[in-house]
């Protein structure tokens, strides 16, 4: 078991002929992911390293039976690409695109909810999802992810920050801890999938025995997650929140993190998670070590 994807997931790459699409699409395939086709309008009939290209997602779905899509397209076209995938019946869209205007994200999210409730969007501006040994959609380097063991204990990872997602995988690999699924939800204002969506899936996934969560300053997603954990998550957890030393009022990076009016501080988030029974580390290594202790006790 894994969440959202598994070894049978058939993936299309929207933008496979572009630089990022080609590079990461090939890497995902080399990892063992079933990359069954690419979509680039006007380039149907061509191929990238033997992966067939189609003019539209609908055509590609028809020909390949794809059920997931990896959108690696520029910000200008990302919203349309996501909606096109949903229209074609794709159930899981991973969008790595960074720099989509916030209003486009909000509109796209609400259109999906209303018109395509069966399509889940992961991202945008996220590293994607990896179920080690089974499926890797996105930009995570597969070799840093430790495969899960049959009898566990295995850890599910959910992270708002791309690079901290890799850092978490790396920390667990150093400790030899298997990962069931690692989901990078992205730090943009309106992510398609949030902490709570992932925590709920991990809670129900028999292959996940503990959960590691990586958050950051800004917004209230971690506080909401803490409430959800308190009420619904029985599996042990460790966490790290980035931005303890970030100065107030400064926007750190693209869109993820801004502290204003004393709300959304790292300390507030850490306190909320600790109150929900999560073991909170002061840096990613410490969160990994805390997970090591948790796993030993299981």
């Amino acid at each position: 078991m894994a969440i959202f994807v598994n070894e049978n997931t058939k993936v299309l790459v929207q933008g496979l002929t572009g630089g990022q699409g080609k590079y990461h699409g090939r890497r995902n395939r080399d990892y063992g992911t079933q990359i069954v086709g690419g979509v680039t309008p006007g380039k149907g009939g061509q191929d990238v390293d033997g992966i067939p290209i189609f003019n539209s997602v609908a055509e590609a779905v028809e020909a390949t039976g794809a059920d997931a899509s990896f959108a690696a397209v520029p910000p200008k076209f990302a919203s349309d690409a996501i909606i096109e995938a949903a229209e074609a019946g794709i159930g899981f869209v991973v969008c790595i695109t960074e720099g989509i205007p916030a209003q486009d994200e909000a509109l796209t999210f609400n259109r999906l909810v209303r018109e395509f409730p069966n399509t889940r969007l992961l991202g945008p501006n996220c590293p994607g999802i990896i179920s080690p040994g089974k499926c890797n959609i996105g930009i995570t380097a597969g070799e840093i992810a430790q495969e899960p063991t049959a009898d566990g204990p295995n850890v599910g990872i959910v992270s708002r920050s791309g690079t901290l997602t890799y850092q978490a995988l790396y920390e667990l690999k150093q400790l030899g801890i298997g990962v069931s699924t690692c989901v990078g939800i992205g730090g943009d204002p309106v992510p398609g999938t949030n902490f709570i969506d992932c925590l709920a899936e991990f809670q129900n996934d028999p292959e996940t025995h503990a959960i590691m969560m990586l958050g950051e300053i800004g917004g209230s997603a971690e506080e909401e997650a803490a409430e959800f954990i308190q009420a619904n998550v029985t599996k042990p957890m460790s966490a790290y929140i980035a931005g303890v030393t970030a100065p107030a009022g400064k926007k750190m990076g693209h869109a993820g993190a801004i502290v204003s009016g004393g709300k959304g501080t790292a300390q507030g988030k850490m306190d909320a998670l600790a109150a929900a029974g999560v073991k909170v580390g002061l840096n990613p290594t410490e969160a990994g070590e805390l997970m090591g202790e948790i796993v030993k006790s299981l």
């Binding site: 990022q20 990461h24 910000p75 200008k76 960074e98 989509i100 205007p101 916030a102 209003q103 486009d104 909000a106 509109l107 999210f109 609400n110 259109r111 209303r114 590293p127 930009i139 995570t140 380097a141 840093i144 992270s159 708002r160 920050s161 791309g162 690079t163 901290l164 997602t165 890799y166 850092q167 790396y170 730090g187 204002p189 309106v190 950051e216 300053i217 917004g219 209230s220 997603a221 909401e224 790290y240 980035a242 931005g243 303890v244 030393t245 970030a246 100065p247 400064k250 750190m252 990076g253 693209h254 869109a255 993820g256 993190a257 009016g261 790292a266 002061l282 840096n283 990613p284 290594t285």
Partner: protein, 382 residues
């Protein structure tokens, strides 16, 4: 990008939101000329991107030329909460009967737009929210539906605006929503929105934050650039399109991804150091970006050591390494680098650095983030 009040008003004017006639001025003489053009009485307003200007003496009423001159002299160069006033906005003064508050922003938790409307304007909305939360109407707007005039009108009624203000306020709210959405604002706020004794409603202030990601479809934003309140380091970084924030410490930080960059600041702090900056080279950064980042760090006199923390996903290790080698060829770095390189093509990157034969006094590699933090802080504090 935060706009100054006068820029926000210029932006409002594009969407037909009524504002007072006036002009910007960088000198006392320009201010007097702007006052004469606007017609007395005028208000001279400090253009700084910080709240509480009025209380600090940054907003003054002038009935004649002599007073306009006197106020411009006092306000230009004034320090308001660390912001030095380099420009004033001089506008025709308005008679005010009542002051309201209206704003649009994105509510991340609800994933919808949030309109806030209050009959209590002209004061800090945070204070109203705390002392009299019922005085603020909060309305979520689904971006698929948008905001209709009927819904805006009902909000005005719910906010208990007087009958005579409702038509004018509804009109402005609908226009402000258009400005907020079509104009790609993260925030569009009018505080105060005023009712004049004549019954007209108009925007007496403007607070606008633009979403930088939407810049590609707004060529008109070019006019707003160049006057933002950045220090020299930040200006240099902005020219290179780098996500940079200047801080006061001694360890220069370069990382890929906002999360890892923040985390790097945290770890440096935990092992007894202090960051000179936040610098996120973003995803997919190439050699040129890395070289540019090092140039910005090198410009900062306070930097005693440099921490490059890269965990490659979309960013490739060999590109990072090439950038470092290129930067070392291009500029004489004043501080030593400590690098931690992992993830995509990290092996190739480390090999490139090794092959370049850079002496250890200039570049050291560490296997983990924590080890690198300790080394770099040790060098900074030595």
């Amino acid at each position: 990008m935060d706009l100054f009040e006068y820029q926000g008003k210029q932006y409002f004017a594009r969407y037909d939101i009524p504002v007072s006639p006036g002009g910007p001025a960088d000198t006392v003489d320009e201010a007097v000329a702007a006052a004469n053009a606007a017609g007395y009485p005028v208000v001279v307003k400090a253009q700084v991107q910080v709240g509480g200007r009025g209380k600090a003496g940054g907003i003054k009423l002038a009935d004649n030329e002599a007073e306009a001159r006197q106020h411009a002299e006092a306000i230009l160069g004034m320090d308001i909460k660390g912001h030095v006033v380099k420009r004033v906005w001089v506008e025709n003064a308005s008679d005010i009967e009542e002051e309201y508050y209206v704003s649009f922003t994105l509510d991340r938790a609800e994933k919808k737009h949030l309109m806030m409307l209050s009959r209590e304007g002209g004061v800090e909305i945070e204070v109203v929210a705390e002392e009299n939360p019922d005085a603020i109407i909060k309305l979520h707007i689904d971006p698929v539906d948008g905001l209709s005039a009927d819904v805006a009108r009902q909000a005005c009624i719910d906010a208990n605006l007087p009958e005579r203000a409702i038509d004018g306020a509804t009109d402005i709210i609908v226009k402000l929503y258009r400005c907020y959405t079509e104009g790609d604002c993260d925030l569009a706020e009018i505080n105060p929105l005023i009712l004049k004794p004549t019954g007209e409603v108009h925007a007496l202030d403007a607070k606008v934050t633009l979403d930088g990601n939407a810049e590609y479809r707004h060529p008109e934003w070019e006019a707003f650039k160049g006057l933002t309140e950045m220090d020299e380091r930040e200006k240099m970084a902005a020219e290179k399109d780098l996500q940079y924030i200047g801080l006061d410490g001694t360890v220069g930080i370069i990382a890929n991804g906002a999360g890892l960059a923040m985390s790097t600041l945290d770890v440096v702090n935990q092992v007894g150091g202090s960051a000179a900056n936040f610098l996120d080279i973003g995803g997919g950064a190439n050699a040129d970006v890395m070289a540019g980042a090092l140039e910005v760090i090198n410009f900062d006199e306070n930097v005693k050591s440099i921490f490059i923390n890269i965990f490659g996903g979309i960013t490739r290790g060999e590109e990072v390494a090439k950038g470092i080698v290129e930067a070392l060829n291009r500029v004489e770095l004043k501080a030593p680098i400590v690098i931690r390189l992992d993830g995509t093509n990290a092996e190739e990157g480390r090999q490139i650095l090794l092959d370049a034969g850079i002496p250890e006094s200039k570049l050291r590699s560490e296997p983990t983030m924590l080890a690198a933090a300790k080394t770099v802080v040790g060098l900074a504090n030595a």
